[in-house]
């Protein structure tokens, strides 16, 4: 796929506080999740690639063009900032139309676009209330609306799901996914794993101002496959099951969990392990309650990389 955003040795510090250090990467169309703990440099990265701040070292281009002070380009970009701030004395409607005006649309276009955007985030009913009186969720949605109203090709969301309830969150996730289908390039930052997992497999892990990994979640998993994998099995007779595994060379470690019916098995060949599993259950008639991989989610990748 075509590279949309490209950064080279991007570094940024505030005074003597490090913001981002030596980030070189390429981002393609589709949804890319930017993941990292609080203060990792996610916001700095997003601000740098949207040209809001200038890097101390390095450069950043979108579609081959430099972005800072290249304001024409912003018609293609939507940005949803992290901070919960607005022109509080305006109504939602005025806020939206006012910002859309800056895109040089005609009044009728602006009206239509605002209407559509507010409909999407379900703020139509409250459009004439002042923003000051909006609840947390409404504010978050309004922020979302101003980022998508002008139908940009590249949308950057900085923590878009903060402060939303599960239902609101589900809606926003669905929306963001729908933009992917339209072939847009979307960057979403978050520190909450399930949120990103629900949206995309393409992730960039940022921690301590550095990019720790970029790529498919599974690709990253493979990358660290040297790291042994733990599978937890809850069953009626764990010791019997354990005895069948003890001969296998791909099993590194067998561990009995704190509850007496759990078995923790560490393996370095998951494919072999998992393909054998069902037949073993059938063969020894082991009644299984649960099979889980405690570290087979983004969290584990994350913890692993951060600790490394």
């Amino acid at each position: 796929m075509k590279t949309v955003i490209e950064t080279k040795k991007l570094s940024k510090w505030y005074g003597n506080v490090l913001g981002l250090s030596d980030v070189s990467l390429q981002i393609e169309a589709g949804i890319t999740g930017i993941l990292g703990p609080n203060g990792a440099g996610k916001s700095t990265f997003l601000k740098l690639i949207t040209g809001q701040i200038k890097p101390n070292i390095g450069s950043c281009t979108i579609e081959g063009q430099k972005i800072r002070n290249n304001y024409h380009f912003y018609s293609k970009i939507g940005f949803c900032p992290e901070q919960d701030s607005f022109y509080e004395e305006m109504t939602g409607w005025q806020f939206m139309t006012g910002l859309l005006k800056l895109h040089h649309y005609s009044p009728s276009e602006i009206k239509a676009m605002t209407k559509e955007a507010l409909e999407i985030v379900e703020l139509t009913e409250d459009k004439d209330r002042v923003i000051k009186s909006y609840s947390r969720g409404m504010r978050q949605r309004l922020k979302f609306a101003q980022a998508i109203a002008h139908k940009p090709e590249i949308i950057v969301f900085d923590e878009p799901l903060n402060g939303l309830d599960p239902l609101g969150r589900r809606k926003i996730i669905r929306l963001i996914k729908s933009y992917e289908e339209e072939g847009k390039t979307i960057l979403v930052s978050s520190h909450v794993l399930p949120e990103i997992e629900a949206m995309t497999k393409q992730i960039i892990l940022i921690h301590q101002g550095k990019v720790f990994a970029q790529g498919d979640i599974h690709y990253i998993r493979d990358l660290i496959d040297t790291h042994p994998h733990i599978v937890s099995i809850k069953c009626r007779n764990p010791r019997q099951l354990a005895s069948t595994f003890i001969q296998e060379d791909y099993v590194l470690n067998i561990h009995f969990g704190s509850a007496d019916n759990t078995l923790l098995i560490e393996t370095n060949n998951r494919d072999k392990f998992f393909s054998l599993l069902p037949s073993l259950f059938v063969k020894y008639n082991i009644e299984v309650d649960e099979i889980t991989s405690p570290d087979d989610n983004l969290q584990a990748v994350f913890d692993y990389l951060v600790e490394k």
Partner: protein, 270 residues
């Protein structure tokens, strides 16, 4: 001029207009503007009292236009427009950074200069409007019995123009200050109520380093005597030079403000 330059300028102009309308509208609605509007209308109350007093006290009143030129206008010139320009000028940039709303503007297809110039224009016209309304009402009240005398309107128009020039110039200065100083207000006080006043006592060309000098050069030289505390010694420049200088100062500060705003990183913090 080649075509590209023309197109760029046209685009800049359009951007400025858009930013202008956004902030003019917002400024109009803001509560702070309302308070400052009341401040700008204080001279109206003053005019009313002056006008009504002779009716109750039975004493003959002073000439309306005399009061207007020597009190109301000078009051605006030396105090009110400074305060208004100080607040609105520093607001142009500080407001966005303090309120963390800058992001909404800088991620739009308008240049940073357009943001500064548009917002500056919006706030300047708001202040001019507020002041203009205040001045006009005061004028009408003070000259209520002479409204047929058209020569008076010339004075009104001249004074409003001078005040507008002043607002334009001061707001530009404070806009610039707001883009690069955090404690812009303190600087504003020192400049507006310290420097601008003190420097008028200095002889020779020193006073040409103040803005108020050029503004006063555009007004008729007052007779010494009453109200002298409001007017200081003046060695006027010619009107043409004064207007030129005012525009020059405005231009320079706006240019600097745009430059700073385009180059500086604004980091939001509490």
């Amino acid at each position: 001029m080649n075509k590209i330059t023309v197109r760029r300028l046209l685009f800049l102009w359009n951007s400025i207009r858009k930013v202008y309308s956004f902030f003019f509208f917002m400024g109009k609605k803001s509560n702070k503007t309302k308070i400052f509007f009341i401040v700008a209308l204080l001279p109206v109350i003053m005019a009313l009292i002056i006008k009504l007093n002779p009716i109750f006290s039975g004493r003959s009143s002073t000439e309306g236009i005399y009061i207007f030129s020597n009190v109301i206008i000078v009051f605006y010139l030396q105090a009110l427009i400074l305060l208004l320009a100080l607040f609105f000028g520093t607001s142009v940039c500080s407001e966005e950074v303090e309120g963390k709303t800058l992001t909404y503007l800088t991620t739009r297809p308008v240049s940073k200069s357009a943001i500064i110039l548009g917002k500056y224009a919006a706030y300047t016209s708001l202040v001019i409007l507020m002041t203009g309304i205040g001045v006009t009402i005061s004028f009408l009240i003070l000259n209520v019995n002479k409204l047929h005398d058209f020569s008076l309107y010339e004075i009104l128009i001249r004074d409003v123009i001078v005040l507008s020039l002043g607002i334009m110039c001061y707001t530009a200065l404070f806009t610039f200050v707001g883009t690069f100083l955090k404690k812009s207000i303190l600087f504003g006080f020192v400049f507006g109520f310290g420097w601008e006043n003190v420097i008028q006592y200095f002889p020779g060309s020193t006073q040409r380093f103040s803005i108020v000098h050029y503004l006063k050069s555009l007004l008729p030289v007052p007779k010494t005597g009453r109200f002298s505390f409001l007017m200081f010694k003046l060695e006027p420049s010619t009107p043409v030079a004064a207007v030129f200088m005012l525009f020059l100062i405005t231009g320079i500060f706006l240019g600097l403000a745009c430059l700073f705003f385009s180059l500086k990183d604004y980091i939001f913090e509490d």
